[in-house]
């Protein structure tokens, strides 16, 4: 499954990030200190590459490492095998939680980790720091994806960025007039589109309401939509409860979303660029914007298991999937902005889709900066507040049940 389940697993992460921040001092002295205040365990980093082991075991979100078994034309794993001699076995996982558990078995070499799993993997000592000088294609990765709080600790990268995407304000221009400019169109209490609004079905959607409040109600003091104290959470929940009667359905899989927009069962809500493209391809009216106040989004990174049995092939995979061809194929299939600057040219020529990167704002740093990437809410406030305790993902889940009623 695609994104839905990824958000699904935020909870476990919450707990872990907490654990980490709580007992950071007990980890090895050689560890690295993260901005969030935890110390990463001291996992050795590869100094140089050796002979390839002839095999690599990949743990991936469905759609990130297609080997042609679902569609012979969708295959960018086989070219990798031919080029490197590393026979790849691909396992898909459904949730970040599952990925973290599978990595711990030691059976896998690389994993595509989302922002809600990365810190957990780093803190748990499950992934190794990545020596980016060994990755020939690392230089082509967009700078705003490097050394981010979700994929690095104290300037040390822990992986190869894959791609990112935004949760967009999406609407049917034939029905929604005038065109919306802000998230208030889905959150205001008496919407003219009542009964046709479609929010994302996950507790993490509370962050969208928090982001809305951040702009409309600055007195609440929300600085980061993933760092809400009790009172702020209650306010965000109130917004969502007011939205509830106007909801046509909460969506979690793209087919549902696509159908609902095409049939007119939903006319406005949160969506993803590639869903918008699919609807567009069916020649149905659809528009998506990133409102000025910004939005939430996701960003994924490929990481190498600390216990990897095939580290050299693992590096080869990272280099390939972050390289122009691998990154282009996976990001194009998955429907997200590729991390590699050269991937755009490949997509333009191979897939004959020159506008792909523009559509996904792949090169637009200002655009990317407007996004609050999915992060797990933890009780040590992510915005640096120390006087209050923030609400955790468990609290959010509870609240989400109550919102839906």
């Amino acid at each position: 499954m695609k994104h839905p389940r990824r958000v699904a697993a935020l909870a476990a992460v919450a707990a872990l990030a907490l654990a980490v921040s709580g007992c950071g001092s007990s980890s090895g002295s050689g560890g690295k200190k993260s901005a969030a205040g935890f110390t990463a365990p001291d996992v050795p980093m590869a100094k140089k590459l050796g002979t390839k082991e002839g095999a690599v075991s990949i743990l991936a979100w469905p759609g990130y490492a297609e080997d042609g078994s679902n569609d012979p034309k969708t295959d960018w794993v086989t070219p990798f095998e031919k080029a490197t001699g590393c026979q790849a076995t691909v396992k898909y996982f459904g949730t970040s939680d599952e990925a973290v558990n599978l990595i711990k078995t030691g059976d896998y070499d690389v994993v595509s980790a989302s922002g809600d799993a990365t810190l957990r993997l780093i803190a748990g000592g499950d992934v190794a720091p990545v020596n980016t000088s060994l990755l020939t294609n690392y230089g082509d990765i967009r700078s705003f994806l490097k050394d981010q709080p979700y994929n690095s600790v104290d300037g040390q990268m822990y992986g190869m960025p894959q791609g990112w995407g935004a949760n967009l304000l999406t609407y049917n221009p034939d029905v929604v007039k005038p065109a919306p400019t802000s998230w208030s169109s889905v959150f205001e209490s008496s919407s003219p589109y009542a009964g046709k609004i479609t929010p994302y079905d996950s507790p993490i959607y509370i962050a969208d309401a928090a982001l809305y409040l951040m702009n409309t109600n600055p007195d609440l003091g929300i600085k980061n939509p993933y760092a809400l104290d009790k009172e702020q959470l209650a306010k965000a929940v109130a917004v969502l409860k007011a939205q509830r009667p106007q909801v046509s359905e909460y969506w979690s899989d793209y087919l549902k979303q696509q159908q609902a927009f095409e049939s007119g069962d939903s006319v406005i809500g949160t969506s993803w660029q590639f869903i918008v493209n699919l609807i567009d391809a069916d020649k149905k009216p659809i528009k998506a914007i990133l409102p000025d106040e910004g939005s939430t989004g996701w960003s994924d990174t490929w990481m190498i298991a600390a216990k990897s049995k095939h580290p050299n092939c693992a590096y080869a995979w990272l280099d390939y999937i972050g390289g122009p061809d691998g990154n282009a194929a996976s990001a194009y299939y998955f429907g997200e902005a590729p991390a590699n600057t050269k991937a755009c040219d490949v997509i333009a020529t191979t897939d004959k889709d020159p506008s792909f990167c523009d559509t996904f704002h792949a090169a637009d740093e200002a655009y990317a900066k407007k996004l609050w990437y999915w992060t797990t809410p933890v009780s040590d406030c992510l915005d640096g507040r120390t006087k209050v305790k923030c609400t955790t993902y468990a609290d959010w889940t509870q609240a989400w049940t109550e919102i839906k009623g």
């Binding site: 939680d97 159908q259 007119g264």
Partner: protein, 258 residues
């Protein structure tokens, strides 16, 4: 055999033991210390009562709809149709069981859509409770027809004829003769429709609109929130309901008609 029974009961027992635990907010690990917090939360927050009531209501409705549809069909199959047709009808009823549950649910999503085939006929329930009841009733219908058909087959024709000979109108025969005798079979079918409805969380997402059912809360707490204890605690509710139901219907002999 007994091993399986013990293993299954053991699994259930372990699950309900877990309902009294909690997760460590720190590590996400289970904290194996006895606590009633999960149950307290279940009882105190009105949202869970609402969801339970909604789920039960849907289960009852689905069962009634299925019973109403299954009776005439099963009766026709068992008592009217000739053997050849009868065999064909059994196949016709069994066949949909082989089509994927998910695909059928998505087919209903298409049917119920505001611009779907149903709206051409002027009916457009849209996604929500109505659509959910319709879809679930559709999905579980064979599970109701088959036991009722089996029950009716066992009913001797002579009884119906005797009733008719005594001058009873068809409706009276149905009410006084058929219904009491086929009742255990109906109950047997209802065990399926009831339990399947109570545990469903996938069809709800597909056709239920914003509706949330018991199954969703359990699945979300386990899969999304990684909170097994709370999921286990809430799973106690359908177990109690089903055990209670089985206890009540045991006397009708329905369990032997499953």
């Amino acid at each position: 055999m007994l091993w399986l029974g013990v293993a299954y009961l053991g699994a259930l027992g372990a699950l309900f033991l877990a309902a009294f635990w909690t997760t460590n907010e720190f590590t996400g690990d289970l904290v194996k210390v006895f606590t009633l917090d999960n149950f307290r939360q279940l009882l105190q927050l009105p949202v869970y009562r609402t969801i339970t009531a909604r789920t039960l209501g849907v289960a009852v409705l689905v069962t009634l709809v299925d019973a109403a549809l299954a009776l005439p069909v099963a009766f026709f199959m068992a008592k009217v149709a000739r053997p050849g047709l009868q065999r064909l009808l059994v196949i016709a009823v069994l066949m949909p069981l082989w089509a994927s549950y998910l695909v059928k649910a998505y087919a209903w999503r298409g049917m119920l859509s505001q611009s779907g085939p149903l709206s051409w006929l002027g009916i457009s329930p849209g996604y929500g409770l109505t659509g959910l009841v319709v879809t679930l009733a559709y999905l579980w219908l064979p599970y109701m027809i088959l036991p009722v058909y089996a029950g009716l087959q066992k009913l001797p024709d002579s009884l119906l004829e005797a009733s008719a000979d005594l001058g009873a109108p068809a409706l009276t025969t149905f009410r006084r003769v058929v219904l009491p005798l086929v009742f255990p079979a109906l109950v047997a079918g209802s065990i399926f429709t009831f339990s399947l409805t109570m545990g469903d969380y996938i069809a709800v997402k597909i056709v239920g609109g914003p509706t949330q059912m018991l199954g969703n809360v359990v699945a979300d707490n386990y899969g999304v929130a990684n909170n097994l204890p709370f999921a286990a605690a809430y799973a106690v509710v359908p177990v109690l309901v089903m055990l209670g139901y089985l206890g009540v219907v045991r006397r009708t002999g329905a369990l032997e008609n499953l």
